[in-house]
């Protein structure tokens, strides 16, 4: 856990462990979530994502380790009320009040001013597209609508840290897209931690990510680093020449790999201020085209999904270690 006061961390977990009987749910998790970031928490079922959320929110007590929220220690309703909100997984909102009454109640408990509550409730209902349902009871809502209401209540007021557990689960594509756009627009204004199985979604929204497996952080850091976006270029060639020797000559010092079956040329390079991925792509393409190769696809790094799928096994250990600056900003292996 980072103890440097100059470092702005919205959430900091240090060696957090939790057991349920004989099952070890979390095994010494270390995690740093930078302020203002959109942070994705990825892992298979049972990896410990929901337990991490629950400990962060104070629903569960950690057996070991420390939790610091907004630089002020573990969750305390007196200290963090209204500053930290969450969409818990599988939690039911009150069933017999109207949406407007329920949000008003939550807003009041959160400490919103009475005169601000009405407009705030309207804003939230509009945000999750439930304005026309304001006077309906929550039990009349569909699963997707309840999910949207759950997301909405997490954005009541001006929370500094929002934890969303599977926020778009059960939403139709249009609603999911709206929610993603809204979350992406929050970047820089507040910290959002999202747990999801939808890796394409996380990749499009998040700037940092941590991959959990069996209660441990397997890898964490800026998403560009985790997916190698700034250190790897893949070029798929169409049938025809594959001038690998020329590319190796043009990019001395870089690692060049060729997958014959899929005709993928992978170039791994050291990223620096003087040498951006675009520079590498330019040199590689120029060399390939000059030598008669036909380019099918060019991509940077690998998808989060591919990174995730490769992680738990031996391939996971082939990922490059997280550089010190990334470890400082986004945790390290547990």
């Amino acid at each position: 856990m980072n103890t440097n006061p100059a470092f702005e961390s919205a959430l900091s977990l240090g060696g957090v462990s939790k057991r349920y009987g004989a099952t070890r749910a979390l095994d010494g998790i270390d995690l740093e979530v930078p302020r203002g970031s959109i942070f994705g928490l990825v892992g298979p079922n049972g990896a410990g994502k929901t337990t991490t959320f629950a400990i962060t929110c104070g629903f569960l007590r950690a057996d070991l380790g420390s939790v610091r929220l907004l630089g002020e220690g573990p969750f305390d309703p007196k200290r963090h009320r209204g500053r930290i909100t969450a969409l818990p997984q599988d939690a039911a909102l009150g069933r017999d009040l109207t949406l407007a009454d329920l949000l008003t109640y939550l807003g009041q408990l959160q400490g919103l001013r009475r005169r601000d509550i009405k407009s705030e409730v309207e804003r939230i209902l509009n945000l999750v597209d439930l304005t026309d349902r304001a006077d309906h009871r929550t039990r009349t809502l569909s699963h997707g609508m309840l999910r949207r209401l759950g997301i909405g209540q997490a954005f009541l007021g001006q929370p500094e840290l929002v934890l969303l557990d599977e926020p778009t689960n059960g939403l139709d594509p249009r609603q999911a897209s709206n929610i993603r756009d809204f979350i992406a627009a929050q970047r820089g204004t507040r910290t959002i931690v999202i747990s999801s199985h939808n890796l394409h979604e996380l990749e499009s929204m998040c700037d940092h990510v941590a991959l959990l497996d069996r209660g441990k952080v397997v890898v964490a850091g800026p998403i560009s680093q985790v997916t190698g976006r700034n250190e790897e270029v893949s070029i798929i060639l169409a049938a025809g020449p594959a001038p690998l020797a020329e590319v190796r000559t043009a990019l001395p010092g870089d690692t060049i790999e060729w997958e014959e079956g899929q005709r993928i040329l992978k170039i791994r390079f050291a990223h620096s201020a003087d040498r951006q991925p675009e520079d590498v792509i330019g040199v590689a393409l120029q060399t390939l085209l000059h030598n008669g190769a036909r380019i099918s696809t060019v991509s940077r790094g690998q998808s989060l999904e591919r990174t995730y799928l490769e992680l738990p096994g031996a391939a996971a250990r082939q990922l490059p270690p997280i550089p010190p600056e990334a470890a400082r900003s986004a945790g390290k292996n547990g």
């Binding site: 309703p77 969450a86 039911a92 009040l97 939550l106």
Partner: protein, 326 residues
């Protein structure tokens, strides 16, 4: 951002609890259940009173022939009022029933710890006394069945997680208990009204205002009596993960309290007396009789003890609840 206070949060949670109960008709279910039981019990009692009125109207069946009649002498001064009450059709039947020489009065005086208490109770309308004594029996069960689910339900649905980020666990529980307390106050008041309505319908010469006075005299005492049971229900509820287990624990707790009270009574004047007394002081049953007394000081002390006992149960529950996983 306002600086929310524990009291404000407790009030908000209580208000939400009441509103949700009303919206979900849970409140009406509790009220309906209690009123139905109260109505049946009151109806039976009122029928009994009506029969007594009939019996009282015929002095021969109640007290046998007056002694002076048998002796052929003139009635003496102290006996005159009772006899007059019995034979005068316009006289209140209750007075006749409770007349100085009536066997009922004698029975009550023998049952009560002091003659003053017996006289105080006998001067109250019987329907008010009935309301109070039957409520003392019914209220604990009703509370255990209905109030025990209030916090446990939130655990079962995990709805508590939306609240726990916005207020403390203590405020949450106290708000829930307060909401249930307000509901019980309303329910017990309504059941008193129900009793009076049935009595007014079935009894001759029913003195509505006297019964209202009596009911309002006992109602606050009844509310105080509810508090420890609400506390016990909350203790069970806040430390249960499901509604069913909360009900089982709270009813088990109720039985345990009753057994403790009986233990204390059975082991008086034995080496276990001190232990029995200690246990008895921790049960609401120990303070129950004090609520009948005319002295406000005595009643106030009993009510304070009951409220304190409720607070103790809640505090014990909170010791565990503050540390439990939600």
């Amino acid at each position: 951002m306002l600086g929310p206070t524990p009291l404000r949060d407790t009030y908000l949670v209580a208000g939400f609890e009441l509103r949700e109960m009303l919206r979900s008709r849970r409140a009406f279910m509790v009220l309906g259940l209690y009123l139905a039981i109260a109505a049946v019990a009151t109806y039976v009692f009122v029928q009994f009173l009506a029969q007594l009125q009939t019996v009282v109207a015929n002095p021969a069946t109640l007290m046998g022939p007056p002694p002076n009649a048998r002796a052929g002498t003139t009635p003496t001064a102290p006996e005159a009022p009772a006899q007059a009450a019995v034979v005068t059709p316009a006289a209140p039947r209750q007075d006749a029933l409770y007349g100085r020489r009536s066997p009922f009065r004698g029975m009550v005086r023998n049952m009560m710890s002091t003659p003053e208490l017996a006289d105080f109770l006998l001067n109250l309308p019987p329907i008010s006394l009935f309301y109070f004594t039957t409520s003392l029996l019914m209220v604990p069960f009703l509370i255990m069945i209905t109030a025990s689910e209030t916090v446990a339900q939130e655990h079962q649905s995990r709805g508590v997680r939306f609240i726990a980020l916005r207020t403390g666990r203590v405020e949450f529980v106290l708000g829930k208990v307060l909401g249930q307390g307000l509901l019980m106050a309303l329910v017990t008041l309504c059941s008193g009204g129900m009793g009076m309505a049935i009595a007014a319908w079935k009894l001759q010469d029913f003195d509505f205002m006297a019964a209202l006075d009596g009911t309002l005299l006992f109602w606050p005492r009844l509310v105080a009596y509810c508090v420890p049971f609400l506390g016990l229900a909350a203790l069970a509820s806040m430390n249960s993960s499901s509604v069913v287990s909360a009900r089982v624990f709270s009813l088990g707790g109720l039985v345990a309290m009753w057994v403790g009270h009986q233990f204390a009574r059975s082991y008086a004047d034995t080496p276990y007396e001190t232990l029995g007394n200690f246990i008895d002081h921790l049960t609401p049953y120990f303070y129950q009789n004090d609520l009948l007394y005319p002295s406000y000081q005595q009643v106030g002390a009993a009510a304070a003890a009951l409220v304190g006992l409720g607070a103790l149960y809640i505090a014990v529950g909170l010791i565990f609840y503050r540390r439990r996983d939600l």
